[in-house]
């Protein structure tokens, strides 16, 4: 029925118009009667649920609402989505904090590998850093093409799916999902490591501290993208200020001939090394330094989060991100090699901490400023995972490759399911790896480079297919990008395979298979449910056979019987009795009731209730073609804890009948305070 069609008489309606006569002739007026305080507004069959309808009733409900409001804030209207979008200044801390923060540990990760070959090998840190920055430049250039080609976001998954097919898309998506989880785990671990550099007591509690910090980030993100950005913007800019300040002062001292004296780490690597310097070791160091490239795909994935013009804002953010990372990373690497910093074997003190100690001195306010801002940005880098994972999961859910809950938008317009699932997975991984950055990093980069390679090569095919103006330049850039990222992928896969990258390689096909299985389920369900054709009508059923299981003759049972008779003229009551004596006693009481409803008494000498009832229903079903409806009477106590005092027979029967085909189960609750008489009216 459309809003314009008149409703049949006696149809319940939210609005009733009653004409009233006034005291004088012609003083008629219309009283518009509607349920007050319902929170539903509108008229003529078109209604809108206002925010008031979301308010829970009862003490527990109100308490829950108040807690949620305190933690994640007031509910946002769907129209506020545009206001939740971000500009370049907010987008940088939200989407680029992962990449920018990598500058805090990328140098150290490369040095840690080179130090295995002895102190002299550390001289190769700078060439490796230059190689990493070169790859980053290629990635930034290529990703800017992704942003322009796919302004609706989706990133590598969408590019790979559209140009290489579904399997490649799912491989890219799986790699990115893994990478986002690892981003959160690694960034948190690195943030805790930075804190424990100046509060060593925290080192032994690093897993617990990390889990608490993940929970804080999750709550921050549940408050919505914009608020998360505002929350995280100041620390990100403070980190940049601290690092550029440190680099400026360090370079000033070096260029004025006042080279700072090197500081010794608490647990240095042996100066002579434990392995020979080989090509493989250098490649491993490059692979570890490439950790700094992670997070650069987040901007392309999150284009729709930007204010208009989305593409332009995203590209500006991407370029700024690359420039900031490159300058800090190269500056830190230069200072580390020039001063002669060595990495700490047991990860108690970071290279950044030692550089700052050497340049400005330990215990100075600037030292603490650098350490605190580094710790905070490393934690906020995890926020890139919180931005990317839920968004990608929602895209996959809309394409029916992930459960639909991932596409549901929460009260603050954030993808709550994705945020919660990401937090749990990251916390589990953090705990499993003991909160060690060094143990987690080998797993990290492979996913992102796989996604990069797939998206770059996908774009190459796209340019070749479309041949738009300027396609040759775009194709050349993306071909070069695909070759470079593909090479890094092979290097990372080989050098880190035994260190843990194999886990990611095993996990990716498993996740792809899982996503496929989910999609197949949704396809099957859709085939079964979808209405074909436009001339479908609502089918007309015969009145069903109604079975009312009755444990004892009480008010709840009478209410269920009354309801059953209102549904169909064919009602059958059934009582399961544990003994002959109690069966006879029940029948006597039933006869006293004087009802015309037929009764079957089922004796169950093995004292089981549910199974004999199910068999009874099966038998009735076989003997009659009409659909079966089971009406259950259920007593509802006043308080939740009183549930424990009742046998929950109705609940067990409902559970048992849930998957029985062609069976309708109707629950007739009888509340403790219920005085309702269903026979009324």
């Amino acid at each position: 029925m459309t809003a314009d069609e008149p409703e049949p008489p006696d149809t319940p309606s939210l609005e009733r118009r009653v004409k009233q006569t006034g005291r004088h002739v012609g003083d008629q007026y219309v009283r518009i009667m509607r349920p007050t305080g319902s929170g539903i507004r509108g008229h003529g069959g078109r209604y809108v649920a206002t925010e008031q309808t979301m308010d829970r009733t009862g003490r527990v409900g109100r308490g829950w609402d108040a807690t949620v409001r305190f933690l994640i804030g007031k509910r946002l209207h769907s129209d506020a989505e545009a206001e939740e979008r971000i500009g370049v200044a907010t987008g940088l801390p939200i989407l680029a904090s992962d990449n920018v923060s990598s500058s805090a540990y990328a140098t150290e990760e490369a040095m840690r590998i080179l130090a295995i070959a002895g102190g002299a090998a550390l001289a190769l840190t700078m060439p490796i850093a230059l190689a990493v920055v070169f790859v980053l430049a290629i990635v930034v250039l290529s990703e800017s093409r992704v942003i322009r080609a796919y302004p609706n976001g989706g990133g590598s998954y969408l590019v790979a799916r559209e140009n290489h097919g579904v399997v490649a898309g799912l491989v890219a998506a799986s790699a990115l999902l893994i990478d986002y989880v690892l981003t959160v785990a690694v960034s948190t671990a690195a943030g805790v490591a930075a804190i424990s550099s100046f509060v060593p007591e925290l080192h032994q509690h690093r897993v617990m501290v990390g889990i608490v910090l993940i929970a804080v980030l999750a709550v921050g993100n549940l408050r919505g993208v914009r608020e998360a950005g505002l929350l995280f913007a100041a620390p990100t800019y403070a980190y940049m200020l601290a690092m550029y300040g440190l680099l400026a002062y360090g370079l000033f001292r070096i260029f004025t001939g006042d080279v700072p004296a090197a500081v010794t780490p608490p647990d240095p690597f042996p100066a002579e090394g434990t392995a020979a310097l080989s090509i493989l070791l250098v490649l491993r160091a490059f692979a570890s330094g490439s950790v700094g490239l992670t997070g650069s795909e987040a901007v392309a994935n999150g284009v729709p989060s930007f204010k208009r013009p989305e593409t332009k804002n995203a590209v500006i953010t991407l370029v700024l991100m690359g420039a900031i990372f490159a300058t800090i990373f190269l500056g830190v690497t230069y200072l580390a090699t020039k001063i002669g910093i060595q990495p700490d074997q047991s990860e108690i003190e970071t290279v950044n901490s030692m550089i700052t100690r050497a340049v400005v001195g330990a215990g100075t306010p600037f030292y603490y400023f650098v350490q605190v801002t580094t710790a905070i940005i490393l934690l906020l880098a995890a926020n890139t995972g919180f931005t990317g994972f839920p968004r990608l999961a929602s895209v996959l859910a809309n394409d029916r490759f992930m459960p639909r809950h991932f596409a549901d938008v929460g009260s603050r317009l954030a993808f709550n399911t994705g945020i919660v699932v990401l937090s749990v997975l990251a916390a589990l991984i953090l705990a499993a790896f003991g909160g060690s950055v060094n143990a987690l990093v080998p797993l990290y980069t492979i996913g992102v480079f796989l996604a990069f390679t797939l998206s770059q090569s996908g774009l190459v095919r796209r340019w070749w297919r479309l041949r738009n103006p300027g396609w040759r330049l775009s194709m050349a850039i993306n071909t070069f990008g695909a070759v470079v990222t593909g090479t890094v992928l092979i290097v990372v896969a080989i050098t880190k395979f035994a260190l843990g990258a194999w886990m990611v390689m095993v996990l990716i096909p498993v996740i792809v298979a899982l996503l496929y299985a989910i999609n197949r389920h949704y396809q099957t369900t859709q085939d079964a449910l979808v209405i074909s054709g436009t001339d479908q009508r609502v089918p007309v059923y015969a009145a069903p056979v109604v079975i009312v299981p009755i444990a004892r003759l009480d008010r709840a049972a009478l209410q269920a019987l009354a309801f059953a008779r209102s549904v169909s003229p064919t009602v059958k009551a059934v009582h399961v009795s544990m003994s002959r004596a109690s069966a006879d006693e029940f029948r006597v009481r039933w006869n006293r009731l004087g009802t015309d409803v037929a009764l079957d008494v089922l004796e169950s000498p093995f004292r089981s209730l549910v199974q004999p009832l199910l068999r009874y229903i099966d038998a009735i079903d076989k003997s009659d073609d009409r659909p079966i409806t089971v009406v259950l009477s259920e007593f509802v106590p006043s308080h939740w804890w009183e549930w424990l005092l009742h046998s929950q027979t109705a609940f067990r029967l409902k559970a048992a009948l849930l998957f029985r085909p062609n069976t309708i189960v109707i629950d007739v609750p009888y509340h403790h305070r219920d005085t309702a008489d269903l026979a009324r009216g």
């Binding site: 004409k19 006034g22 003083d27 007026y29 219309v30 305080g37 008229h43 008031q52």
Partner: protein
């Protein structure tokens, strides 16, 4: 005077919150029942029960706001939306039907050539109400 039932007419002006607070101040000590009404005036070229969506939306909105102000003031406010040809007649008739002993209205006014002009609704309520009428003079916007 201790009113037992108060009718407050809400027109959706900026004075409404003050009127509600004034009613709360009067009603709470007397434990009086309060009903807030908003009357949508229907033009003569339309049927009396015509569905006028923008006016209905506005009416619902202002009654909801009034309820919120009343809740804050600790006042239980019942609300009702009416449609009539003449708002004053509907206000008076509702007050009679509900046996109200006080009608409270906001009184917006204009000054022209040194004289004060009050709207016809307030004047008609004053003249025709069978009970006491309390008019809240709305301050002029400075």
């Amino acid at each position: 005077m201790q009113p037992k039932r108060i009718l407050v007419a809400l027109a959706g002006t900026s004075a409404d919150p003050d009127v509600i607070r004034l009613v709360a101040w009067v009603a709470k000590p007397a434990k009086a029942e309060v009903v807030g009404i908003h009357v949508i005036e229907v033009r003569w070229n339309l049927p009396l029960d015509a569905v006028m969506e923008p006016e209905l939306d506005r009416g619902e909105e202002l009654l909801e706001s009034a309820k919120k102000v009343a809740d804050q003031a600790g006042l239980q406010l019942e609300t009702e939306l009416l449609q009539a040809r003449d708002a004053a007649a509907a206000i008076v008739d509702t007050a009679v039907e509900r046996k109200c002993d006080l009608i409270v209205v906001a009184m917006p006014y204009r000054k022209r050539l040194g004289r004060v002009y009050v709207g016809r609704t307030v004047q008609n309520v004053y003249v025709n109400a069978p009970c006491a009428v309390l008019a809240y003079r709305q301050e002029e916007n400075k």
